[in-house]
Each structure stands twice: as structure tokens, then as C-alpha cells.
């Protein structure tokens, strides 16, 4: 089996940063890094190549110039080459448009598997992988917790609300990664050096004939209300009364 793997990665605000909203906008002048679920996707793809199930891992990102760093991280983790679909700084590219761009790239590159993170930690959409499968008419397995290669099928164990579900996916397929799939490697110094020599192809949405105008408009962004102190209640009756009359949730 010598699969070709495509791994989209997204540059997001670092998980450890405390996000601030100023003047109705998110303060983006903070540390950014690769979406943690995408790191898991890159790791899984690289491991498949190391086990000789795959022959090539291609990382792709849709983002401004700065996203080149995210691609370099993927290359330093072991991806063989990368594609950078460059968009203007501060442009919003929503899941549907990302899926359309990935479709255009997949039609050119013809991968056997597209590994995506289950969701990006900035918008928590959890849509791109599924939309891509829909657009391409491919099978999909989201929230993957374990992946086994058997013959020309992938057996994927998914984390679902009721527990775990195991399905057999025919290739080509889309897989989105969940937290427990693997633990991503660190980019070692020798690999960082090697990454500098790996190929990165640049293109624009126009080259792929995709319109990235958002189909959804963001009307308002605000921080969640500050948590006020709680109250202790003496009885269930009092609790019900407060839930009814003060919190108004009953």
C-alpha cells in the first residue's frame, strides 16, 4: 500500500493565550501556532509513511503570509512537501470556502486520504472535513481515535456520544482526528534544518478558481459575561425557586 496523504493545517491563536475582545474585535496580536488537532493529523500521516503504508505526506494551509510558519512546522514534523494557498492578511475564510479550496487541490493532487483536525480551536466549527467529504462524494470518518490499515481499507474507530464506533472506510476517504488518536512529536533541531530545504508551492484562491467570499456574516463578537459569585441554597425547593425566578431557566 503506498498511499498519498494530504493534511490541511490551520494557523490559530495558541491554546495557552487568553483571548481578548477589544472594540468588538478579537485581538490577534498574540502568539499563534498550529491547531492542536492538526498536529495530531500531521503526526498520524507521518507515522503511516514511516510504517510504509503511505509514500507521501503533503501539508497544505489556507492563510496569510504568516501561515508559512505553520507549514514549516508540518515539514519539520515530517511532511514531505507543502502547499500554501495565500490569502490577504485578516481575511476570513470559512469552512465551506476552505472545503472548496481543498477540493480543488485534491482534484489536482489526487490523495488517497485527507487527514484533518476534527475542529479548529478558534471557531470550533467541526465542519470542514465533513463538507469536503460531501463536496467530493468521498467516505468520511470524523473524530478518529484509532486508525488501522488493512488491505485497501482503513478501519477507523470513532469517538461518538454513545461510546466508540468502528467503521471500515473505502479509499479515497476523509478522516478527522480526535485528541486521543496520538501524541504529536516535537520538531527536532535536525528536522527543522531539513524542513528548510523542502518544497513549498504557493498559489492563490483565484488560481484554484474558488471564490472565498464568506457565506456567513459575523454580526457581533463579545466576551462571555463575567462570572458573578454563586449562592448557597438550603433546600431543593429553594433551588427550584431560584432557577425559575432568578436564573429563568425553568
Amino acid at each position: 500500500m503506498s498511499l498519498k496523504l494530504l493534511v490541511p493545517v490551520k494557523r490559530v491563536i495558541d491554546y495557552a493565550v487568553k483571548v481578548r475582545v477589544t472594540g468588538g474585535k478579537i485581538d490577534t496580536n498574540v502568539k499563534h501556532s498550529m491547531n492542536p488537532f492538526d498536529e495530531i493529523a500531521v503526526e498520524e500521516a507521518v507515522r503511516m509513511r514511516e510504517k510504509k503504508f503511505a509514500k507521501e505526506v503533503i501539508a497544505v494551509t489556507i492563510g496569510p503570509a504568516k501561515s508559512a510558519e505553520t507549514l514549516r512546522t508540518a515539514l519539520a514534523m515530517g511532511a514531505d512537501r507543502a502547499i500554501h494557498v495565500e490569502v490577504p492578511e485578516n481575511s476570513e475564510v470559512l469552512p465551506l470556502q476552505v472545503a472548496k479550496l481543498l477540493k480543488a487541490i485534491a482534484e489536482k493532487e489526487k490523495p488517497d486520504v485527507v487527514f484533518l483536525g476534527k475542529q479548529a480551536i478558534d471557531d470550533d466549527s467541526s465542519q470542514t472535513g465533513q463538507m469536503l467529504a460531501g463536496l467530493m462524494g468521498w467516505s468520511q470518518a470524523a473524530f478518529a481515535n484509532k486508525i488501522e490499515v488493512s488491505g485497501d481499507k482503513l478501519t477507523v474507530t470513532r469517538e461518538v456520544d454513545g461510546g466508540l464506533e468502528t467503521i471500515a472506510s473505502k479509499l479515497p476517504t476523509i478522516i478527522t482526528t480526535d485528541l486521543r488518536l496520538n501524541e504529536p512529536r516535537y520538531a527536532t533541531l535536525p528536522n527543522i534544518m531539513k524542513a528548510k530545504k523542502k518544497k513549498v508551492d504557493k498559489m492563490t484562491p483565484a488560481d484554484l478558481k474558488v471564490d472565498i467570499t464568506p457565506s456567513i456574516e459575523t454580526i457581533k463578537i463579545e466576551e462571555p459575561p463575567k462570572r458573578a459569585g454563586g449562592k448557597k441554597v438550603e433546600s431543593v425547593d429553594e433551588l427550584v425557586e431560584k432557577l425559575k425566578n432568578e436564573a429563568k431557566v425553568l
Binding site: 510558519e69 514549516r72 512546522t73 519539520a76 516535537y186 533541531l189 535536525p190
Partner: protein, 370 residues
Amino acid sequence: MLKEAVQKFAREAVKPRVFEMDENEILEKPIWDGLFEQGLMGIETPEELGGAGMSFTAAIIAVEELARIDPSVSVACDVHNTLVNTMLRHHGSQFLKEKYLTRLATDTVGSFCLTEAGAGSDAFALATTATKKGDKYIINGGKMWITNSWEAGIYLVFANVDPSKGYKGITCFVVEKEMGVHINKKEKKLGIKCSSTCELSFDDIEVPAENILGEIGKGYKYAIEILNEGRIGIAAQMLGIAQGSLDIALPYMNQRKQFGTAIIDFQGIQHQVAQVAMELEAARLLTYNAARLKQEGASFIKEAAMAKLFATQVAEKAASKAIEWVGGVGFTRDFGLEKFYRDAKIGAIYEGTNNIQLQTIAKLLRKEYP
């Protein structure tokens, strides 16, 4: 990218163990393994020999990022790279480079053995001897205050092959632990506790003549030259201490309120923080500039001395002030800040005491204005 990679490693792999390693005074094996796996023990070593093939400045950045989390881990990495690896790269025969650089990059810790009980700042007064016997040298003597020596497998030992020539007999030998290096004592220290510092002795140990690093009698020269560079590494470690102190103190000062005000909002405190931050930035620029000059092959001795001197002063001040700013909690070991205060002190002493740095700078200035 390198900076982020080291930060990630330091934050995720090293940070959880810092407290324990300091309390137990041991640099745990998983951290050593991690350093090797990340390529942090062969930063400048060429790729063909198993290293990362990166620049001196890359090493400096790595040392600072490690020190931000644990100055002990940082110095272990710094000495191994900027003293041991570099000595081999600069002066080793092809035979020695191939024999040892790969081992040093992949699994063996290195140690730089110059100082003795009677030879600190006056390194040339060293008394360890190396007597020729056929195609071997018999080394006798002892070393003190040697970093990494507990875990090391490879030691660069400075010994005199001809004491009648004074310091011009000092020669550097690559000694393997199995040749008979004996550890007399592991020191219990004020700071950088988990970085091993031992007293060594050599009792008639036999070292093949081919393990002489560079030329006979040039050891003194190699030592001075390498310490000029190594100094920049120590400056980087000190920057990490200062930065690490601020990393812990400032977020706390944002949250901690007294008199209805966050500590960071008191103007008196703000002025002190601004002063320290400015001095740290100045120290950083001194350090990076010295690294740049060295990489370009320009003269850098004065700048390296200034960088080490100033960075150690800033580190001591930053750590000390940070504890004052956060108050009582800064005095507790659990909080992690007092460790930086203790770790900073060694900066003024090793790789050339601060008093010697002042001498060096003064001497070089005098030459500029004859």
C-alpha cells in the same frame, strides 16, 4: 522556529520536572534523553556526524529558552555544546571528530575539565600532569567544580605534559570515562542544583596519544579561546533566568490585588518593572551582538565579556526584584521563583568571574586608547 521548538520542549517535557529535580538534585534521565532526541546536544555539529548543523546563534537561542524554564538543564546543554562540542570541532583531528562528535550528539554527555582546587581564575596554574609513556600519556591529578561530570562519558581534560614549560605545557586530552575517571564527590550547591558539579581525580590513567586534542602545549590557548565563546552561552543562560523570573512574576502581579488594586497597577512597582525589563533588553542585545560578531569572525572578546557581566547582573537583579514584587508567595519553593534567585548567583562566578570580566574589558579598552 527553533525558538518555538525549544520553548515547546522546555514547557512540556522539562517544566513538570523542574521542582523535583531541584529538590532531589538530579537531572533526570528522561530529560537528558529528551535533549539528545531533540538534537539539542549537537546543535552546531555537522549533519553528517549526527548533529543539527545549526549556527552558534541557534545554540544561544536554545540555551536561553531552556534557561527560562530550568537554568540547570540550560547549563548542561550549554557546556556540552559551546565548550565540549566546539573544542572537538575546532581542534579535533578527523579521527577524534568522527570518534566522538556523533556520540556526543546522540547519547553521551560531555564535560569540560579545566579548573582545579588551586587553579580557578588562574587556570594556568593547573597541576594535573600528563607523562608520556610510549604511545600513551599517563594522567595524574584532580579537577574541581566540573559541570556534567556525574553523567558524562567523555571528558576534555587539561593537563600539563611538561611543567618546566609552565603554562606552555598545557595540553587538552579527550578522556573516556572507562579510562579511569574517578568521581570523588558530587557537590551540594546553592543553585543549579540538579546540574552535576563534581570533584574528579585521575590516578595513573592511560590515555592514547591520538586522543590529544589539537597540538601539544597549546591547551592554554584553546581554553582561553573557547571560554570567550562559552561566555556568550552563559550570558544567554542568564537572560533566560531574568526572563523566566518575569514570566512567573508578571502574570501573578496582574491578578494579585491589595487595596483593591492589582500589584502591577501601582506606579512604584511599574517603574521598577520597566527598569528591569529595559536592562534585560539591553543584556539581550549585548548577547546577540556578541554572538553575531563571533559568527562573522570579527573580534568579540570585549563584547562577550560585557554580555556575560551585564547579563549576570541583570539576572540577579530581576530574580531578586521579582520575589519582592510578588511578596510572600515568591519566597516559597512551590512557586518556582526563588529557584531563579538561587540559580542566578553562579553566573557571577563560572566561565570567568565577573571580576575577571571587568579586568578583561579594562585591558581591551586600554589597548583601544594607547
